[in-house]
């Protein structure tokens, strides 16, 4: 079984994140850059399967600037076998479809039985790239699933939102996007960190994918930073905080 896990490096959600005033794109240099947590959970799904099926090969694929290599190294140290980094300045500013087109081209080249992705990145939050990649590759997809079970020839999971809960499955080859409901990822072991440095990490330009170059057709036309919220009044409870709070709510016409 060959499982490809898609990885994205994102600005750390524990710090302030910034949009570039000129382009409206994420300013990746302004924040700490980390592997998106949901991708670690996606990798954990693959690693859990590999724990029971040793002849499983796990490949990481990312598309991003030079620094994205760090996210791949982290994944390799957690237990993935190899990694592919699509690094090409011409891909800067790719929209969702251009990103999916590039990823699909690399996945076609790489080959796979199962593709595992996060349901949405913490920076873009679009959540459409997995479905696009599956469509471009002509394979079924199970999006936004948890409780994933992988067997030799199929993958299944639970897909739920606030309106319904579905039990779903797909024959392999397939793509799944997993939610936060999936288990936390393991920490890299010391041995994992040491061996990660020797694992293969190939860097590809877009030309090497042998596909037609996609161009972004959706565009940010304006971009405004909202003024930060200021703190209002803070009181310390002396037994009357409840009634003071009600007075405030009444004065503000909130109740």
């Amino acid at each position: 079984m060959k499982i490809v896990v898609l990885i994205k490096q994102v600005p750390d959600t524990y710090g302030e994140r910034v949009l570039s005033p000129d382009t409206g794109w994420v300013d990746r240099a302004a924040s700490d850059r980390v592997i998106d947590e949901i991708n670690e959970r996606a990798l954990e799904v693959a690693l859990t399967y590999k724990d029971s099926a040793k002849n499983t090969e796990i490949v990481l694929v990312t598309m991003g600037p030079a620094e994205a290599k760090d996210a791949l190294r982290k994944g390799l140290s957690m237990g993935a076998d190899s990694a592919v980094h699509i690094l090409d300045d011409s891909l800067e500013g790719s929209d969702a479809l251009a990103t999916a087109t590039t990823l699909a081209a690399s996945l076609k080249r790489e080959g796979f039985d199962l593709i595992v992705t996060g349901n949405e990145s913490t920076d873009g939050r679009g959540g459409v790239v997995p479905a696009m990649v599956a469509e471009l590759l002509g394979v079924p997809s199970l999006s936004f699933v948890s409780s994933v079970v992988i067997t030799d020839d199929r993958v299944s999971g639970v897909r739920s939102d606030d309106t319904q809960t579905l039990q779903v499955h797909a024959p392999l080859p397939a793509l799944i996007s997993i939610t936060e409901g999936s288990p936390d990822a393991r920490f890299p072991s010391f041995k994992g960190i040491m061996t990660a440095k020797r694992k293969p990490l190939s860097v590809l330009s877009f030309a090497e994918l042998g596909a037609e170059h996609p161009s972004a057709r959706s565009r940010v036309v304006s971009n405004t930073e909202r003024p930060a919220r200021a703190a209002g009044r803070t009181i310390t409870d002396d037994g009357s905080a409840g009634s003071q709070l009600v007075d405030y709510l009444v004065a503000e016409r909130l109740i």
Binding site: A131, V220, T234, I235, T236, A241, Y248
Partner: protein, 323 residues
């Protein structure tokens, strides 16, 4: 006038989801709304009339027995058919799991650009412009599509107003073949909401609890205040991770984004992850015993104190005001 295709979600039994109204409202600003409804049995005339009343000029009903076994495959095929028939300027869907799944499939199938999680839509000199609230509302951006069809998803409970009533002219197609690229649905359970509380998304008042509540049993305090205020119940990720309340209540970066008139944060420290889901609330009230909790930096009214003594006081004071 240009047609705008709207994907209307339904429950398993065929009832329209509440998002239909706001999607049709947004569509009517951009052109003539065509409501696409996918059902297992032909739509009855009264549902078509309901959609007309909500602003649909045309109701395009795709009927397929495969709807309940094919994961978003039939819906994607139905929208592709509608695009072929109506040549719309845009396809508008709700930014739900299904909506995003279908938007991604449709965009890749037709080579159409996407505009995602719009909180507002308008027409600017013939171009569709979407507004997005980025990084938990820290930025407002506007985006548009250079050329061709735009596939747009709209954040739930973000579009205000209503569309003028339209004809709701019903046309039907059947979808027979099994879409090869779909996942398979083995079973569907509609979640029946037993509570009288408003839905978290779109609620005017939201009361959220955090790790400070201490246990699932004590989390009831959050529900009591929510009921006293007629609000919805939310939670921080810490409270969800601790198992106090199901994940569907999570407010924050990786949960639901809310923008109510009044937001109560009870025993929530206010980590950036939580703030990203609620900082666009009009008024924020925070109660926390840690005076250094970052939530106080954005609270309009903060109370440093124990939630277990302040909230009961507050509920008493609220109840004593009621006639």
């Amino acid at each position: 006038m240009t047609d705008i295709v709207v994907f209307v979600e339904t429950s398993v039994s065929g009832e329209l989801r509440p998002s239909a109204a706001e999607l049709l409202t947004a569509a009517a600003r951009l052109g003539s709304p065509v409501a696409v409804v996918v059902t297992t049995a032909p739509l009855d005339a009264s549902t078509a009339a309901d959609l007309g009343a909500l602003g649909a000029a045309t109701v395009f009903n795709a009927v397929s027995r495969l709807l309940t076994t094919s994961l978003t495959g039939v819906q994607t095929a139905a929208l592709a058919k509608a695009v072929e028939q109506f040549s719309p300027a845009a396809v508008i869907l709700s930014n739900t799991l299904d909506g995003r799944d279908i938007a991604g499939r449709l965009s890749a199938r037709l080579g159409a650009a996407v505009l995602l999680d719009a909180v507002d839509l308008r027409l600017d000199a013939g171009t569709i412009v979407a507004t997005h609230s980025v990084f938990g509302g820290a930025y407002l951006t506007e985006s548009s599509v250079d050329s061709g069809l735009a596939v747009v998803t709209v954040r739930q409970a973000s579009i205000e107003g209503s569309a003028p009533a339209a004809a709701g002219q019903l046309t039907s197609v059947e979808i027979e073949s099994q879409p090869l690229t779909s996942g398979v649905i083995d079973s569907i359970d509609d979640i029946v909401v037993a509570s009288n509380r408003p839905e978290l998304r779109g609620a005017k008042t939201v009361v959220s609890g955090g790790r400070g509540l201490g246990s699932a049993e004590k989390f009831v305090l959050v529900e009591q205040l929510a009921d006293a205020l007629g609000g919805a119940v939310g939670a921080s990720r810490a409270a969800v991770d601790a198992g106090y309340i199901p994940q569907s209540h999570q407010v924050g970066q990786t949960g639901i984004t809310v923008s109510p008139q009044l937001y109560f944060a009870l025993g929530i420290s206010g980590a950036i992850q939580h703030r990203a889901g609620m900082q666009t609330a009009k008024t924020i009230v925070a109660i926390n015993k840690d005076e250094d909790a970052p939530i106080f930096e954005i609270a309009d009214f903060g109370v440093v104190g124990d939630v277990f003594s302040v909230v009961p006081q507050l509920i008493d004071a609220l109840n004593s005001r009621k006639p």
